[in-house]
Amino acid sequence: MGELKLMKGNEVLAEAAIRCGCDGYFGYPITPQSEVMETLMARQPWNETGMVVLQAESEVASINMVYGGAGAGKKVMTSSSSPGISLMAEGISYIAGSELPCLIVNVQRGGPGLGTIQPSQADYFQAVKGGGHGDYKLIVLAPASVQEMNDFVDLSFELAFKYRNPAMILTDGALGQMMEKVELADFKPRWTDEEIEEKSGSWATTGKPSSRKKNIVTSLEMDSNIMEANNHRFQEKYKKMEEDEVRYELFHCDDADFIIVAYGSSSRICQKSVEIARSKGLKVGLLRPITLFPFPNKIIAELARKAKGFLSVEMSSGQMVEDIKLAVYEAGRNTRVNHFGRTGGIIHTPEEVVEALEDKFSWELNYGVKRSY
C-alpha cells in the first residue's frame, strides 16, 4: 500500500505529476487551482526528479510551452481554471492538430466571463466538443474524489501517449479545494532520452541524428487532400477511443426506474441523492461517466431499455444532458431526459436533486413511460 495522506485535490495533482515522472509543468496563477503550481514550487521537484516547473507570463504562453515540450516527446502538463482554459484554446487546437500528447487540467469555476471563483461544471461543452477551432477531440477524464485526482494524472499521460492526443482532467473548484484521504502512487522515473527515442523517436523533435529524417511538428498542411486525410486519421483515432476507452461507474442501477447521470463532484452529491430517494421508496440509480470523451453511449442505450427517465445533474444550465439525449435517441428510445443543476458557483444539495427528480418526472412516477411527448 502506498503512502496515505490527507491532501487537497489541487495539491494531489502536483504530487501525482512528480511521482508519475512528469518532465515539465507550465502554468499561470488563477483561482481555484493556484495550489497546483504553489505545491510544485514548494516541492522543488527539479532537485528530486529533474522535473521542470515554470511560471509562465500567461495561459497563452503556458499552453505553447506545453506544445514545445510535448513536441520533443516529453511528458508535460499545465493546469488552469475556466477563463485560463479559454485563453489556451488556440494552443490546444494546435496540440491536437499536431498530434501531441500532453495533460491539461481544468479546475472549473463559474462563468461566463470572469464569473465566479466558486465551483462549476459549465465547461463541459468546451472540454468534450473540442473547445478550440477545427475538428478535434480531447480525451476527457472526470475525477470524483481526491484519490481519482491522483490516479488520473498518470492515466491521462498513458492515454495521451497511447493516442498521441491531448488529455484533459475536467474537475472543479470543489474537488480542487477539498481534502480527502489519498493513497499516493510510488515514484516512477522520468523517461530517459533513450526511452523517449524509442517511444517517440519517429516524430519528436529531439535533434536530428544522421540516422533518421528530420522530424517536423506542425499542424499546417496546405494540400487539402492531405489535410482531409489527416482529419480522417484523427476521426479514426477518436472512434477507436470510443470503442476502447469508455470508463464509467454504476451505482444501484440494476433495478432503477430513474437514472441520474452525473460526473465529478456532482456525482458525489448524487450518490447521496440516490440513498435519500431509495429511503423514500424511489428506485433511483446513478451512472457516473468517468470519461466524458469518449462518452458512455452504450451503457446509456442499455439503461434506456428499462429506465423511465434520465436526469442529468450538472453544475451548469444543461450541457451533458445533450449527449445523454443523443445516446437515447440513437438507441431508438423515447425515454425522457431532463436536466437539473445549480449554476454561478452554487452546488446543488442531495435533497434538491431528489426534489427535482420528483418534480420533473411526476408524469412517469404516476403513469410510466409515455409513447410520445
Binding site: 496515505l4 490527507l6 473548484g173 470543489a174 481534502m179 484521504k181 452529491i269 452546488i347 442531495p350
Partner: protein
C-alpha cells in the same frame, strides 16, 4: 459509522485546522475522510466553516445540508447552522462568541468555555484544541492515541514540539465541557 459534521466560526479561530486534525485522526483510525472548506472571498475576514465527514465506508456527498454534529463558535454560524443539526444530533458551542444560545429541544447541546480557558492557559492559540477535546468527550469516535498521531501528521515538523501542549488542551477540553441538554 458515519459522522457528518460542520465546524463554523470566524477566520483565525482555527476552524479549518481543527477540521484537518480531525480528518487526519480519522485516517489514523483507518476511516474514510473528507474535508470541505468554504473558500474564496467569503474566507477573507469573515466566517469560515468546514464540513468534515468521517466514515467506515466510501463517502458520498461532501456537500451537506444536515449534520450529525455542529461545532459553532460565533453568532453568525449559530444563526446559520443550528437548524442544520439532525434531530437527535449534537451541537457544541462556545458561549463567548454566542449571544443567543441554541433553543432547539430535539438535539443534544453542550457548551465549552474555550476562549476563557485558552486565555487562562496563557495561549489563545490552543482554543481550537480545547473545543476539539470537548467534541471528543461528547462524540468519542476517535481514540486519543490516533488523535496524537493525527496531530503529528497534520502539523509541520517544526511545530511538533507543540504537540504536548495541544494534547494538554484537548484533555482540558474533555474535562470542562458542560452538558446543556441531552435528548
Amino acid at each position: 459509522m458515519t459522522e457528518e459534521m460542520i465546524i463554523a466560526g470566524f477566520g483565525g479561530q482555527g476552524v479549518l485546522s481543527m477540521g484537518k486534525i480531525l480528518a487526519y485522526s480519522g485516517i489514523m483510525e483507518d476511516k474514510e475522510v473528507t474535508w470541505f472548506p468554504s473558500y474564496g472571498p467569503e474566507m477573507r475576514g469573515g466566517t469560515a466553516n468546514v464540513t468534515v465527514i468521517i466514515s467506515d465506508t466510501r463517502i458520498s456527498s461532501p456537500i451537506l445540508q444536515q449534520f450529525d454534529t455542529a461545532i459553532i463558535l460565533n453568532q453568525q454560524s449559530m444563526d446559520k447552522f443550528e437548524k442544520s443539526v439532525k434531530p437527535g444530533g449534537t451541537l457544541l458551542y462556545d458561549p463567548n462568541g454566542v449571544l443567543t444560545p441554541p433553543s432547539r429541544n430535539d438535539i443534544n447541546i453542550y457548551k465549552v468555555e474555550g476562549t476563557k480557558t485558552a486565555i487562562e492557559m496563557g495561549n489563545p492559540k490552543v482554543f481550537n484544541m480545547i473545543v476539539f477535546g470537548s467534541y471528543l468527550k461528547v462524540r468519542p469516535i476517535l481514540s486519543l492515541d490516533n488523535v496524537e498521531k493525527g496531530l503529528e501528521k497534520s502539523l509541520p515538523e517544526r511545530y511538533h514540539k507543540l504537540i504536548p501542549l495541544n494534547l494538554e488542551a484537548i484533555k482540558k477540553g474533555q474535562a470542562i465541557v458542560e452538558t446543556v441538554q441531552e435528548v
